[in-house]
């Protein structure tokens, strides 16, 4: 069974936010106004967190893209009253059934990474964008929860293509939009259980760590960083 995961090399990340834009376009993530954004009601399946160290002029900026960790033991799954969010045994992905979500937001409250997003409004796009929505991904309705799906629709396409070609799915067939867009190739994606895959070898690197491993959620997004990465507390 494949177990899809991601490795993000923080030493390569330049904070350009290409992954954020690519994700928004790929997954029909709705736009939001500056007002909504300032109220904390925006949706961004992947978000680049900046962290600044030191005082001017000796400043060092670091960036950390944060997305759904697709935990092996996701805290969001058991709390859902309808099973709208689930962990797929076949792929290890944590998915969301939008039409079954009752909008209670329990999963978001239970997520320690705060990477679940709620549709506070009926989604809307500028007119030009409205006609160029991706047909592969459903548009989510108001009052439902959504989050990164690791571009699940691309897995379906890759599987179809592999079947059409009469071969098995191989490393590199299934890529996510953020991975594709990253100019510094900081993001790698693939099957963590396939020992030959790039992600599997990177995830075993001495530079690898995961966010809040002490919580026991076993995230499948690994970060690479030389030296210590203290999650900075801005408070």
């Amino acid at each position: 069974m494949p177990r899809y995961g991601m490795v993000i090399d923080l030493d390569r990340c330049s904070g350009c936010q290409a992954c954020v834009v690519a994700c928004k376009v790929e997954n029909n993530v709705p736009f939001c106004s500056p007002k909504e954004s300032s109220q904390g009601q925006e949706i961004a399946w992947i978000q680049v967190l900046p962290s600044h160290e030191g005082e001017f002029p000796n400043v060092r900026a670091r960036y950390m893209p944060v997305l759904c960790m697709h935990c092996e033991k996701p805290p969001c799954v058991p709390v859902c009253p309808t099973g709208a969010t689930y962990r797929s045994e076949a792929t290890g992905l944590v998915g969301q059934v939008y039409t079954r979500c009752i909008g209670c937001r329990f999963c978001a409250v239970a997520c320690p990474y705060t990477v679940r997003y709620f549709n506070w409004y009926t989604p809307h796009w500028p007119k030009e964008m409205d006609e160029r929505l991706s047909p592969d991904v459903s548009v989510r309705m108001r009052n439902t929860m959504e989050k990164c799906s690791f571009c699940h629709h691309r897995l379906l396409k890759a599987r179809d293509q592999a079947a059409f070609d009469g071969r098995k799915l191989k490393d590199g067939d299934y890529v996510t939009a953020c991975q594709e867009a990253c100019p510094t190739k900081a993001i790698s994606f693939g099957d963590l259980d396939d020992s030959q895959s790039r992600v599997a070898s990177l995830s075993r690197s001495h530079r690898a760590f995961r966010l809040r491993e002490d919580l026991g959620t076993e995230p499948k997004v690994y970060y690479l960083n030389e030296g210590d990465w203290d999650v900075p507390d801005e408070r």
Binding site: V79, C104, A110, T114
Partner: protein, 507 residues
């Protein structure tokens, strides 16, 4: 029952179907408030919650969840009170048993309404049954809430139907209404009555256990999540139970005081004093539990929890915390002390001065940022504390010397305690979401919007309307005390154990 008997207990049905102008005057604004809330709620569910509510990431739950949990507590406490009356035969509370039931039914409706305001897809609620997921506390909360609404309806029905039949005899013009309400029941024989009492007794014992479970499950909506350090822990369930009991007693006392002022009700001062005493003894218990929780966090200084508590005590939510401590715990405690224990006013003054003095020192030591600093701008710190101190003294003097009825004083104290419990629930629930994240996100704080508050006010108004309707329609004080005394006299002498022998009820 002969008609003469009906006449003899006529004053007990005094409130039934009496259209009181003051009640009517109270109902009109309530209707208006409900009518304001309905369109706002409809916008929420058809256009998106964000248009009305100030909720955000990560404060996904706000006022409506706090309100829901508060009313679950009030309702649960109400059922506990009425089951104490029925299952354990606490006679002193018998006169308020039915009002407690009414309160718990309207609270259940209000909790349900708040929950619906929070869950934004009422049409999809069926999925909780269709695709049940028993690992979710919400599944159990819904199960519990619906069971508890049903049980309190059954409970209320069984306890009231004999009285309803009496009302049919007394008010033949409206017999159809009461025949409907009593579901066609007509049996007034003593056997039927004692059977009803037996059922109520067993049901009361079951309900008591059920309510403890209910509050525990409500607490587990929060306490089970390692993602939220302020919630996570075992303390929250017992805390919720105490909060539920004290809030139910407080709301019950307040509503009896208000109802008694509005309509004639055969509940005397003594009952109100008893209820006030219960609240009085529960305030230190609540304070103790909150202190233990607070002290553990402050002493161990674990950063995750400390952040939440810091925000709660000195940050965005500080007015709620200090407001609860002073107006919800300390002030009503003293007020009740004056009324119930008949403490001399001089004594109270001296105790109050010493206590306020220590509070001021503690505040100075903790560098307590005074709420609304703009108001105090330019004043030296000692002056601010002096002003606060004098304000506290003035409040104490008011509670010691103001001319008002004893029941009004108790009602005022319990109202403050009830509001304080709401603030306590807020403090337990809200800061944990927005004030600590495991990642360096920068989040806006949460402040309820006007729309959100109006929806909740509408929910309150709905509860008030249900209460007023019940007060107008139903006999509020059980009319069977006299009979019961007779029954006890006639019955062979029973020992205490025999009274609680469950086998006697099974056969």
């Amino acid at each position: 029952m002969s008609p003469t008997n009906v006449e003899s207990d006529a004053p007990r049905f005094d409130n039934v179907l009496r259209i009181d102008l003051r009640l009517l005057a109270a109902a009109v604004p309530l209707v208006v408030l409900v009518l304001i809330a309905v369109p706002l709620y409809l916008i929420q569910i058809t256009r998106g919650v964000g248009l009305i509510a100030g909720l955000n990431r990560p404060t996904y739950w706000g006022l409506d969840v706090v309100n829901c949990v508060f009313f679950l507590g009030v309702g649960a406490g109400g059922v506990i009170i009425s089951s104490l009356v029925h299952a354990f035969g606490i006679r002193q509370l018998k006169v308020v048993g039915r009002i407690a039931e009414l309160m718990s039914i309207s609270s259940a409706v209000m909790a349900m309404a708040s929950l619906f305001a929070n869950l934004c897809w009422p049409t999809r609620m069926i999925y909780i049954i269709k695709y049940p997921h028993p690992t979710s506390p919400i599944f159990w909360d819904m199960t519990n809430l619906s069971t508890y609404l049903m049980v309190s309806l059954v409970y209320g029905y069984l306890g009231t139907r004999a009285d309803l039949v009496r009302v049919i005899q007394k008010k033949p013009r409206y017999a159809w209404l009461y025949r409907l309400l009593s579901l066609g029941y007509t049996n007034l024989s003593p056997e039927a009555r004692s059977r009803d009492q037996r059922i109520l007794r067993v049901l009361g014992a079951i309900v008591l256990v059920g309510e403890v479970a209910e509050q525990t499950i409500s607490a587990w909506l929060f306490g089970l999540h390692k993602a939220r350090p302020g919630w996570y822990g075992g303390m929250i369930a017992p805390l919720f139970l105490v909060l539920a009991t004290i809030s139910a007693l407080a709301v019950l006392t307040t509503s009896i005081v208000v109802t008694r002022r509005l309509i004639r009700l055969r509940i005397d001062d003594d009952v109100i004093r008893k209820l006030g005493k219960f609240v009085f003894f529960l305030i230190p218990l609540l304070g103790y539990l909150l202190f233990v929780e607070l002290f553990t966090v402050l002493y161990s200084a674990e950063p995750a929890k400390l952040n939440v508590y810091h925000a709660m005590m000195f940050g965005h939510y500080a007015p709620m915390f200090w407001g609860h401590l002073t107006l919800g715990l300390i002030f009503p405690f003293f007020l009740l002390m004056v009324v119930l224990l008949r403490v001399s006013r001089g004594m109270l003054w001296s105790v109050g001065i010493v206590l306020l003095h220590f509070l001021a020192i503690a505040a100075a030591w903790l560098h307590f940022p005074v709420p609304y600093p703009a108001l105090w701008h330019g004043l030296p710190v000692w002056a601010v504390y002096a002003v606060l101190w004098l304000l506290g003294l003035a409040l104490l003097s008011v509670c010691a010397y103001a001319k008002m009825g004893e029941d009004v004083r108790i009602g005022l104290a319990t109202l403050l305690v009830g509001a304080g419990v709401f603030a306590a629930r807020w403090n337990l629930i809200i800061p944990s979401m927005g004030e600590y994240s495991y990642l360096p996100f920068v989040f806006p704080g949460y402040t309820p919007t006007v729309g959100e508050i109006l929806v909740i006010v509408g929910v309150y108004a709905l509860g008030g309307l249900i209460y007023i309707t019940c007060v107008t329609l139903l006999p509020l004080v059980e009319s069977e005390e006299a009979e019961e005394v007779k029954e006890v006299e006639e019955a062979p002498v029973q020992t205490e154990e025999a009274e609680f022998d469950i086998n006697a009820y099974i056969h």
